[in-house]
């Protein structure tokens, strides 16, 4: 079981991670950043994340840290 930590100060809301996660665990959230863009949130209630790091590898802003 893994988890990711998203650095909201780095994230620019490009949503590449939401389309990359094979389990669909990263979703657009209702919170906005200072530019008014909807941020992303990681929600893994069932413990499905396997720390494959695909989200982090495709994040253009290095906003995601992955733990296992």
């Amino acid at each position: 079981m893994g988890k990711i930590v998203i650095d909201d100060s780095r994230c620019k809301s490009c949503y590449i991670c939401t389309m990359t996660c094979p389990k669909g665990l990263i979703k657009k959230s209702s919170k906005t950043n200072r530019l008014g863009d909807y941020m992303v949130e990681f929600n893994d209630e069932k413990g499905e994340c396997i720390a494959c790091a695909m989200c982090a590898k495709r994040c253009p802003d290095l906003a995601i840290e992955v733990y296992k």
Binding site: C14, Y15, M19, A51, A56, K57, P60, Y67
Partner: protein
């Protein structure tokens, strides 16, 4: 819990990318930083940077850099390498810098077989200046200076940089990679590592062309921009290794 993915050590502390959302420069710079970490050459690097979006490399990497005039990154790099042959020298530039204004410098650096590594980001447009037609702009692509699309009669054909560099006798490694999917990102890292390794082995010029997206100037979402790389760019600019010289001279 153990951290399995983190920011490379060669990147500056508390940096924040200033690129547009979804820009592939961020991934390309991360791959360069990871290769620098793995080869353990950070203290020996002098980088020569270009003009364009790629110039911000020195804001994010904790390495020594010299700034070159537009297109002359490899000319400056040649001077640095000849003055300090013990240092590791690489350039990081865009297609407009490398293959338009700096084509003579780039080509002749490869022909001289300078032991320099070079990375060129090909996004088929001039990103920083507002999306003008560049040397790699695809046929039919609309830009601010080709509003009806690039046509052959008026603008000619796009340049295939990696193939041209591979034809130069001084080139030790020339490859084209993309950043649109995870397997392509992994291949890109291997290619950057090889282009760096040929310099360490003293074999000659190492070159990697990276197909990248520019969502802002293409007027697309980041995901659509990656789709365009896959469906429109890769058929025109095929991925692969076009030249590789090994240590035994083959």
């Amino acid at each position: 819990m153990q951290q399995v993915f983190s920011i490379p050590k060669s990147m500056k502390k508390d940096f924040k990318y200033t690129f547009c959302p979804g820009c592939d420069h961020g991934i390309a710079i991360r791959l360069v930083a990871e290769v620098i970490d793995e080869l353990g050459i950070r203290e020996d690097i002098i980088s020569s940077t270009s003009v364009g979006c790629s110039v911000f490399l020195y804001d994010f990497l904790d390495i020594d850099c010299v700034e070159a005039p537009h297109g002359r990154a490899l000319a400056s790099a040649t001077g640095v390498k000849r003055a300090r042959p013990d240092k590791f020298v690489f350039t990081y530039s865009g297609d407009g810098d490398f293959a338009s204004i700096g084509l003579a410098e780039s080509m002749h650096t490869a022909l001289r077989g300078e032991c320099i590594s070079s990375i060129c980001i090909n996004n088929t447009t001039y990103g920083m200046t507002g999306g003008q037609l560049g040397p790699t702009t695809l046929l039919g692509q609309k830009t601010t200076t080709s509003p009806t699309g690039r046509n052959v009669d008026y603008y000619g054909y796009p340049i295939k940089i990696a193939e041209h560099i591979a034809l130069c006798d001084g080139t030790a490694y020339s490859a084209r990679v993309a950043l649109d999917t995870i397997p392509h990102i992994n291949q890109a890292k291997q290619a950057i590592k090889k282009a760096f390794q040929v310099q360490l082995d003293g074999l000659g010029f190492g070159f990697v062309e990276i197909l990248s997206s520019c969502p802002t100037n293409w007027h697309m979402t980041p995901e659509d921009a990656h789709k365009r790389v896959r469906e429109e760019m890769i058929p025109v600019f095929p991925l692969g290794v076009f030249k590789e010289v090994s240590k035994d001279g083959n």
